[in-house]
Point group: none
């Protein structure tokens, strides 16, 4: 099945935002065996949208359009759909009910502009939008399916996952395809490639594709196979994973099954804590609340998280977390001694089963003769004691924060697994 | 001048990489008054490239193509150029000299594949590539200029800056262009549209375009104008901004000048605190460290941030931040009383000039009969006292966290400005 993605938005064309919608959609479509052949970005202009839709109908079997669905005057996609399909806009009662309840829940007044969101072209299948008021549309002209979705990423993603992808799968006989990603941490891409070279070389003749997908602090290895029989593909890929497990056991921390969410390290440690009915607290200096925000982004975080202290000054490390003043005058705040004291004391303070502490120099400032930007000390404490590790990352502040987070979460995972 | 960007690369179409080249090129082209009307991504396939070039020649005056210039077999752009322009590939001595010296400098042997990099279509202007071996190409067919550049970002960027942009500027009498974005907070897109309707309606005849760019908790309004005289355009847009300021003064928190970074609320409050030489501490319950992570993502955060407590349990609110136990048994943790106590006490605890506190139900769990998911109380404390606000957001956890962050940072900004 040949797909085309059309993104509507002047903000993309003037370079104000990066088109991450196209990337996310392409990834998901490819995962279910739909091949994205074209990505096109055009402006919020009726004539341009019509031209793009006509051209797409000559070359693509499904056209996914994002953007231009907002309630304001510069959003023209719905009007253009009505004109392309020669269908009048009619009020959809289900959508209107949703729009009304959307505003009621938020105790906000509804106005005519909001009510008009419930207008859709006659004959279109409405794609429900749980996170917003603009409905999506699914319509077919001759042999081409046109799908219209909002440009707001989290609305679009929920509608793709909840409606568009399942419907494509259901209504089409797509080739069998199987992907699994192996999540590794603690080894760089080139070193990993060297370690698994022989295994990788043998994959091609088995009809399996390997992709390296690096992220700060970790590398995802994606194995893909396409063919006729799903069971055969699964066995083929899983056999290779079994071999890989024997080659790099210490670096693998999880697997991403086909079509499921990527298990993040914060999700993995949260699940482990929940299973064990144990709790966590954190002392985050250089990561400045970032690790806690990762953990609290997961629903149900209050079952496992007692709390966090971000002691961003030496004074607060001393007053709130009882780090001895002589530590600052001798080894300094970025040290084994300091980070271990932070981990031990934050665990006591919150009366949690486990704790994490991080202290480092995120940069760009803060380096000394002995300690350069990117130096990070991390510790994990439990009833059994405290473990700490030293890391030397690079000179990009945000990347150092992310690398520190991934590294200490990985350390906590190993501690939790014993 | 109407421009089109064509990016060639399967890695973009399968969603493996985000197309940041297109964004960078669009920004630069817009800055010099070239209007990017289309961005197209296609695969490394001769027929597809030819079709895209033909179609582009019907609608664009300049077509900038990236990718497919490498030395390997899957790179076909140069061959396609030769065929599109009906020009044989001939050896360019200047390029060959550059390729040879490129390899010599790196002490690497040169092979036939590398030598073939010096082949270019007859009649093309070569764009020098200081950072690689693939030359760029500049050729004209009828009224359309075609430019081919490598897909490697730093090679492409250097060639755009060193050759393409200066040549476009030199050979064309480009219109002046001016954009400014107005950053608003505290009002939804549709209500904003209603409030400024008359003002907005009058923009069109003044030749000014308005775009609404919503993000969680805020809306960016972008005004754009094109014309002959830069000074006239600036005045025209700035006059409209002055009018807008009188219409929605309470919602505007900043301006984004064209080509400059978007000022975020965390950056704005950090800068205000730095100017005043004042400090901040935070008590983040439902936002779980997110606001602190925004503030600590900015270099130099240690000058203004004393620290944060994330009291994720009632117990920790009581033990670490002295919230009275009767608050939990009467009004509960998500209340004016609790959030004000958190703000006042965290300020004392860290001895900071200002403090922020947030307590709410991020969801999906945690709702009660009286309090639904999305309810958030936020407070700001200073030497002058404490101010609190109640918000009712939606039912998406991550979005509620982001909306709460933006709302309380906006409250802090107003407090800092008096």
């Amino acid at each position: 099945m040949k797909a085309e993605i059309i993104n509507i938005g002047d903000e993309i064309l003037i370079g104000q935002i990066v088109n991450t919608n196209a990337t996310w959609m392409a990834t998901q479509l490819n995962l279910i065996g739909v091949s994205v052949r074209y990505m096109v970005t055009i402006s919020d202009d009726e004539e341009e949208i019509l031209k793009a839709m006509h051209y797409a109908s000559t070359r693509s079997e499904i056209v996914l359009i994002t953007g231009g669905l907002g309630p304001t005057k510069d959003d023209v996609t719905k009007k253009t759909f009505a004109s392309f399909f020669n269908s009048p806009l009619i009020l959809n009662e289900t959508v209107l009910k949703h729009v009304r309840s959307f505003f009621e829940k938020r105790n906000r007044e509804i106005n005519q502009v909001n009510i008009d969101q419930a207008l859709v072209p006659e004959g279109c299948d409405v794609i429900p939008n749980e996170n917003g008021t603009a409905p999506g549309m699914w319509m077919k002209k001759d042999k081409t399916i046109f799908v219209s979705l909002p440009g707001v990423p989290y609305e679009m993603i929920a509608m793709m996952n909840g409606y568009v992808l399942p419907r494509i799968l259901k209504e089409n006989n797509l080739p069998a395809i199987f992907h699994t990603s192996i999540l590794t941490q603690g080894i760089g891409e080139s070193f990993l490639a060297e370690k698994i070279e022989a295994w990788e070389d043998a994959l091609t003749e088995k009809g399996i594709k390997l992709a390296y997908l690096p992220k700060p602090g970790l590398v995802r290895l994606r194995l893909s196979a396409a063919g006729k029989d799903q069971t055969v593909l699964e066995k083929k890929v899983n056999d290779e994973i079994e071999t890989l497990k024997t080659l790099i056991p210490e670096y693998i921390f999880g697997f991403e099954e086909f079509g499921k969410e990527t298990p993040t390290l914060e999700k993995i440690v949260s699940d482990l804590l929940r299973e064990k009915k144990q709790t966590l607290s954190l002392a985050e200096s250089c990561t400045g609340g970032y690790i806690t925000s990762l953990i609290t982004s997961i629903p149900g975080a209050s079952e496992i998280l007692k709390g966090t202290i971000v002691p961003y000054t030496n004074e607060s490390k001393q007053n709130l977390l009882s780090v001895k003043p002589e530590i600052f005058t001798t080894v300094g705040a970025v040290s084994k001694e300091c980070v271990e004291a932070l981990a031990i004391n934050v665990r006591k303070k919150f009366d949690s089963d486990y704790s994490i502490a991080v202290s480092g120099i995120a940069g760009p400032g803060g380096a000394t003769d002995e300690k350069s930007v990117g130096l990070v000390w991390a510790a994990v404490a439990s009833a059994e004691g405290v473990t700490s590790r030293k890391f030397q990352f690079g000179d990009n502040r945000q990347r150092n924060i992310e690398m520190a987070a991934v590294s200490v979460l990985s350390l906590l995972r190993k501690t939790l697994l014993g």
